[in-house]
């Protein structure tokens, strides 16, 4: 209880960190990034203007930017003391290993399977004929 009131007091003197202008600015940044992502996704769909790999890199960078703004401003972490920021940021670094290791594992498995399971490989490269396209409709649904 004591610490709760103490924290509240410091935050009262620190009211400027809850500036609504910053919140709205964050909102516009997030919206702008989302609209831009959507724009290039649709542009790619219509015109194939960039290789998909580069586009994916752009999407990932913009996602991380959005995540940064949500954590820093909405969740207010940027305004906490350094101890608090570090106790969350350092364990989060595990994600770097987590993503790289498991993506690499997926790629390696695909290569191994394509090399040693030729039947699977041929099948996965054979387009389905339009007539064979499985009926999407479920029984009982019109």
């Amino acid at each position: 209880m004591d610490s709760a009131t103490a924290v509240q007091h410091t935050q009262h003197s620190d009211k400027h960190s809850f500036d609504t202008r910053i919140i709205w600015r964050t909102f516009w940044v997030l919206t702008a990034i989302t609209v831009f992502e959507l724009f290039i996704a649709i542009l790619y769909y219509e015109t194939d203007f960039l290789p998909k790999h580069i586009l994916n890199g752009v999407f990932i960078i913009m996602t991380l930017a959005k995540a940064f703004f949500i954590i820093a401003e909405f969740m207010h972490l940027r305004h906490e003391i350094k101890n608090m920021i570090m106790v969350l940021a350092v364990p989060a670094l595990l994600f770097i290993w987590f993503v790289i290791a498991f993506m690499g594992d997926g790629v390696s498995y695909r290569h191994l399977r394509n090399r040693y399971d030729r039947y699977q490989y041929e099948q996965s490269k054979t387009p389905v004929k339009k007539a064979e396209k499985p009926e999407a409709k479920k029984p009982g649904v019109e």
Partner: protein, 224 residues
């Protein structure tokens, strides 16, 4: 820009929280950290499976319908609307937390109300999307969509889609319930009697986390 605290403050000498936050808020952060790894594990396993597949369905083809205007293809429009709703409700939640700092009960009620509405709107959109996909024949174990290169797709795509968006939707649902409880407690004056609205802050952290996860779900399923 860290919080303004006296220079040379000895955080680790005892008698105070070395993190300069209240116990409950610290624990909420730790819970969110563990939840982030749960979602991370789900999304990364999706990534691994997708990387190990020779081809995958095109999200622009799968998610192109919008309610009311029906079959007109507008790729990703509906899911962008959902993203916008969730970001918007995050903003109203911050405003509720800010109002709590000023001990402004009326404003807390107002902004919490809009946050709850935003959460319900998001859930409704998701319910529509799930229903629509189900009508098209997609469900756990059933994938009616072709891969982007016209080859046969497996049910990995739908399994991951429904599991992960379902798990996220369940988080949104819990968040709405938590917000409703916060609304009732504020309404009954519980926080006013306590003298602080720190509970709203914890609910707010959870709500922003749900938004944060959606940002990643959005990228992984709809953009990549």
């Amino acid at each position: 820009m860290a919080q303004a605290v006296p220079a040379g403050q000895k955080w680790w000498s005892g008698g105070k929280s070395p993190f300069h936050v209240e116990y409950g808020k610290l624990m909420m952060w730790f819970f969110l950290m563990s939840d982030a790894f749960t979602f991370g594990a789900l999304l990364i396993s999706y990534g691994t499976i997708r990387m190990s597949s020779n081809a995958w369905p095109n999200p622009n083809e799968v998610f192109k319908t919008f309610p009311i205007i029906g079959e007109m293809p507008v790729p990703l429009a509906f899911v962008s609307l959902m993203t916008f709703i969730l970001i918007m409700s995050s903003v109203t939640m911050v405003l509720a937390v800010g109002a709590g700092h000023n001990n402004d009960r009326k404003a807390v009620l107002k902004w919490l109300f809009w946050t709850i509405i935003g959460g319900l709107a998001f859930l409704s959109c998701q319910a529509w999307e799930w229903t629509h996909l189900h009508m098209e024949g997609a469900w756990w174990g059933r994938n009616p969509f072709m891969n982007i290169d016209g080859t046969q797709s497996s049910s990995n795509f739908t399994n991951f889609f429904f599991t992960i968006t379902g798990f996220h939707g369940f988080h949104v649902f819990s968040g709405v319930i938590v917000n409703i409880i916060m609304f009732i407690m504020t309404w009954k004056g519980t926080f006013e009697r306590k003298g602080h609205y720190l509970m709203i802050e914890k609910a707010g952290l959870y709500w922003h986390f749900v938004d944060l996860v959606w940002v990643f779900v959005f990228t992984c399923f709809y953009l990549l």
